[in-house]
């Protein structure tokens, strides 16, 4: 077996040294009645060539986004990732290292986490960010829990245009934690009255912008109303690239920002792994969940970095921890950091503008397809169209013609009754030809 270095002779020698009569004797504590005597009913070891064939066969039964005109978003976005990013994250010293518990030989990880934290804080306009969460949806759930801790209240108010998966994630944890969640109904064209729903019991208001339908939301008045009621504003985003062009939540009064960082540096990966971004104000830092890298000095006075404030964490605090989270999304955070370093302000701004330009062009093209209505007044790189009849059927028909034309809102929220809406995204990876093909094919299938 290519991955197992011990030879039968090695094993025999080692066994002799342990004093055990047999390898099985080392498993003596497993009750004999339960011990497996046969091998598991699974195939035997395979060579690399065979494994590659088997997995390539499965892979070939999917339609890769890059092989077709592609407009699917709704929380995960296809962007071009520079080849250097993927190369660097595969460096052995990054890929095969552990959580940097021994900082003297993990400065590489710790320094990039410190860079990541700074980038996320800067991007979101916040004071401080953690070293990443699992993804945007779990970051949002953690934001709600944090708001409960900060305000000592236990009711969250969720905007109706929060991504339905995010809403469900928050609701699930809250239900089992015994916390209350109020969710407003969706308002596809935007303009929902969130402020009117805030009351003194709310620990937080959770608002997404761009929202799930693509609308840009003015967070300032919501923040003011929330603060007046003693609640926090939790601002959510699913498309990090948007922050290159739109006003960041930190500049609009958000107290906690939770977002999905996948679109910078990370592939679609059929939904994971992604990287949750989480930022807040300095004064809340000790209530913040997740890992944190901090600056310090070594015994010779040289700057260095360590994991810090771990007294918040489960391995010290156990049942009193701020969160049960133990793993972050380190390697995805590294991909984010490297891609963001390559972009810089200049590149990110340009990239965001190119995305927005493409989406505007697409909206113009789709708006003139008979029967199609674009719902949005404002958007970044994703917007919502209303089609005659079932959105699901339209999307399926488009797929049959080789166009992946967006996400039916009904897939995210089957019980919403909003069955004619399609969320449509266009990034820099869609070409003008792609957009023209989409409009023409949509016209055909309607």
């Amino acid at each position: 077996m290519r991955y197992l270095p011990l030879t039968p002779e090695d094993r025999a020698e080692m066994l002799a040294r342990t004093g055990a009569a047999s390898v099985d004797a080392l498993f003596a504590d497993i009750p004999l009645a339960q011990r497996e005597t046969e091998l598991p009913n699974l195939p035997l070891a395979k060579g690399e060539l065979e494994v590659e064939r088997a997995l390539a066969r499965l892979a070939s039964r999917n339609v890769p986004a890059g092989s077709v005109p592609f407009f699917v978003g709704a929380g995960a976005y296809r962007h071009h990732v520079p080849a250097s990013v993927d190369h660097l994250i595969q460096r052995s010293e990054f890929l095969t290292s552990y959580t940097p518990y021994q900082p003297e030989i993990a400065q590489g990880t710790l320094q990039y986490l410190f860079e990541f934290q700074t980038q996320v804080a800067e991007l979101t306009g916040m004071e401080v960010a953690n070293a990443s969460m699992y993804d945007g949806s779990t970051a949002t759930a953690e934001a709600v829990l944090m708001a409960h801790r900060v305000t000592r209240r236990r009711k969250a108010l969720l905007a109706g245009n929060l991504h339905p998966h995010y809403r469900a994630t928050v609701e699930t944890v809250s239900r089992y934690a015994g916390d209350e969640v109020v969710s407003l109904p969706p308002a596809p064209s935007g303009g929902e009255d969130i402020i009117g729903a805030i009351d003194a019991g709310c620990s937080c208001v959770v608002v997404q912008s761009p929202d799930v339908f693509g609308n840009l939301v003015d967070l300032k008045p919501i923040a003011e109303a929330a603060h007046k009621a003693g609640a926090l504003l939790v601002a959510v985003f699913t498309e990090a690239v948007s922050l290159g062009l739109i006003e960041p939540p930190g500049a609009q009064g958000a107290d906690i920002v939770a977002g999905e960082g996948q679109s910078i540096g990370n592939a679609l990966n059929f939904g994971g792994p992604y990287v949750g971004l989480f930022a807040t104000r300095s004064k809340f830092v000790r209530q913040m969940p997740g890992r944190l890298a901090g600056e310090t000095v070594d015994a010779e006075g040289r700057r260095g970095f360590v994991l810090t404030l771990s007294t918040r964490e489960q391995h010290i605090r156990r049942e009193k921890a701020t969160s049960n989270i133990c793993t972050n999304s380190g390697l995805c955070a590294l991909a984010f950091t490297i891609h963001m370093s390559l972009l810089g302000k200049t590149g990110l701004t340009r990239l965001a503008r190119l995305n927005h330009a493409g989406a505007c062009d697409l909206a113009d093209r789709l708006a003139v397809v008979p029967g199609v209505e674009v719902l949005n007044d404002t958007f970044f790189n994703e917007f919502t169209i209303r089609v005659p009849g079932s959105a699901s059927h339209v999307v399926e028909k488009l797929a049959a013609k080789g166009i992946l034309g967006g996400v039916p809102y009904s897939r995210l929220a089957p019980k919403s009754g909003l069955d004619a809406l399609i969320l449509v995204a266009a990034t820099e990876t869609t070409s003008a030809d792609d957009r023209a093909a989409f409009a023409a094919t949509l016209n055909e299938v309607l």
Binding site: L26, F27, L42, Q107, Y176, N324, N376
Partner: protein
């Protein structure tokens, strides 16, 4: 050469990405355009490459040397798995594409599930959880859901004192009161202690098995029976599943739920702290409460039930996160499983256990190993009794090991052992490698006993950094770079 921070070497006007300017167009931002400053420095590609290559060289990974971090299972990460996860058919597929265009991805999830169920003997598996602790949360929510479905209001969870910190944290997170169970003298849980703690208020027992002392809980069957007899569920922490893969099906031990760290047992890379993946296997009693999405077979092929309460997920506990789980990790884990096969997986467990016992046997005369009357599972546990009177601590030994070219073992965990050193070699080390490591530790042990304090207290001497001041970091946290006082061109 020291490597500066990105913010010190980068400049906002530099970019390492050539993005074309779009033709002029009318924006649809409706006045939401960014006005806040955006101090994100850029690097040209050569600068970025060098910066991150240099950072990487300050790190230690499995490929650098033996990485005996107990409980963390730092085994070889095959590059085949990286290559497979990057096939466009897996990496470049969106979670919300029409199901007809992702049959291979669903097939992969199905195949992974089949392997996990066969290896555990369990009834159902939820793939969504994104890490071990997330899997624990899922499993414990399933238990809570099951109790609620039967109208029970149990509010206590029992956790042995040797448990991972995530166990009590998870139970507390969903409102359970945590009660600790002490270990008996041999490092395992006494079924009598469990029985004594059980009662009508107890919802579940959470037990790590093999436990954090590196021992298999030999009374696990009795414990499970007691738990079930009391109307509670048995949650097993699967962090150490690697020790028993192919040696016992956990269903046969009476487990109701267990998470599986794909990044431990199935070798998806740890990546400096993530991403992980923590699928949860469930017994028949808990299977109906598995979260959405659920994978189902239909006449048209594989499909996903994505909505709680829909057909196929009527009792689903809800949703753990957006989308379907850590697909990239599923590919890597399945690639590992296919490569090893039934025979290789069992052999891997045996080699991991053998290696741990070998290390313990070779070091027992110079270090002190508690609970050594029982076979170690895939970890060798030592305490600091052997350091008594030397003025050298477990931490010092760890730092001195860095100077020998090794990553230290896990220290001060489990908490139940004083000055614990938990060594997990995994199955990936050759005998020659183990022998070198053992020799290094013996040498340190003899030096410690000989009173060579300087070698320990000042260690590490030969690392990118000497010992770092963690207290200072925590007292006045500096968690991000801040532009220094405005001296023109200072950022250059």
């Amino acid at each position: 050469l020291e490597e500066g921070l990105l913010f010190e070497i980068g400049r906002t006007e530099v970019t390492g990405v050539d993005v074309p300017e779009p033709a002029p167009f009318k924006d649809r931002l409706g006045g939401h355009a960014r006005t806040a400053p955006l101090e994100l420095p850029g690097l040209s590609e050569p600068e970025a490459m060098r910066h991150y290559v240099r950072l990487s060289r300050m790190n230690y990974g499995i490929d650098s040397g033996l990485f005996p971090l107990g409980s963390c299972t730092m085994k070889h990460n095959p590059r085949l798995n990286e290559k497979m996860a990057r096939l466009p058919g897996f990496a470049d597929v969106h979670p919300l594409q029409p199901l007809s265009t992702v049959q291979g991805a669903l097939g992969l999830m199905g195949e992974l599930s089949r392997y996990l169920l066969e290896l555990t003997g369990m009834q159902a598996v939820a793939l969504q959880p994104k890490a071990g602790a997330h899997g624990e949360l899922c499993g414990m929510m399933a238990i809570k859901a099951a109790h609620e479905a039967s109208g029970s209001k149990r509010h206590v969870v029992l956790v042995p004192e040797s448990a991972h910190g995530t166990n009590p944290a998870t139970a507390a997170l969903i409102g359970y009161e945590v009660r600790s169970i002490p270990a008996r003298a041999d490092g395992t849980v006494d079924p009598e202690a469990v029985k004594a703690a059980l009662g009508p208020e107890v919802a579940a027992l959470m037990l790590t098995n093999p436990n954090t002392c590196g021992l298999f809980e030999r009374d696990v069957v009795a414990i499970a029976e007691a738990v079930h007899a009391a109307g509670a569920y048995f949650y097993s922490d699967g962090a150490n599943f690697n020790a028993i893969l192919g040696k016992v099906r956990i269903a046969d031990l009476g487990v109701d739920a267990m998470h599986i760290n794909l990044h431990k047992t199935f070798s998806t890379p740890h990546g400096g702290g993530g991403p992980g993946a923590g699928p949860v296997v469930l017994s028949a009693a808990l299977a109906p409460f598995a979260p959405v999405p659920a994978l189902v077979a239909t006449a048209d092929g594989l499909a996903l039930v994505e909505d709680q309460g829909a057909d196929g997920a009527q009792q689903a506990l809800g949703r753990m996160s957006a989308f379907h789980g850590q697909m990239g990790m599923f590919v890597r884990a399945l690639s590992w499983m296919l490569s090893h096969g039934a025979d290789g997986m069992r052999q891997a467990s045996e080699d991991a256990v053998l290696s741990a016992n070998y290390i313990r046997a070779c070091l027992m005369d110079v270090m002190s190993a508690p609970f050594a009357e029982r076979p170690a599972m895939h970890e060798a546990l030592f305490d600091d009794a052997w350091l008594a009177g030397t003025g050298i601590s477990t931490l010092d030994v760890a730092k001195a090991l860095i100077d020998e070219g090794y990553h230290p073992m896990t220290v001060y965990f489990p908490l139940v052992v004083h000055g614990a050193m938990l060594i997990e070699p995994t199955e990936s080390e050759s005998k020659a490698s183990l022998d070198l490591f053992i020799a290094a530790l013996r040498d340190l042990a003899l030096a410690a006993k000989a009173g060579d304090k300087a070698r320990f207290l000042g260690a590490p001497y030969y690392a990118p950094r000497r010992r770092l001041d963690e207290t200072r970091a925590a007292r006045a946290p500096v968690l991000r770079w801040v532009k220094p006082e405005p001296i023109p061109d200072a950022a250059e």
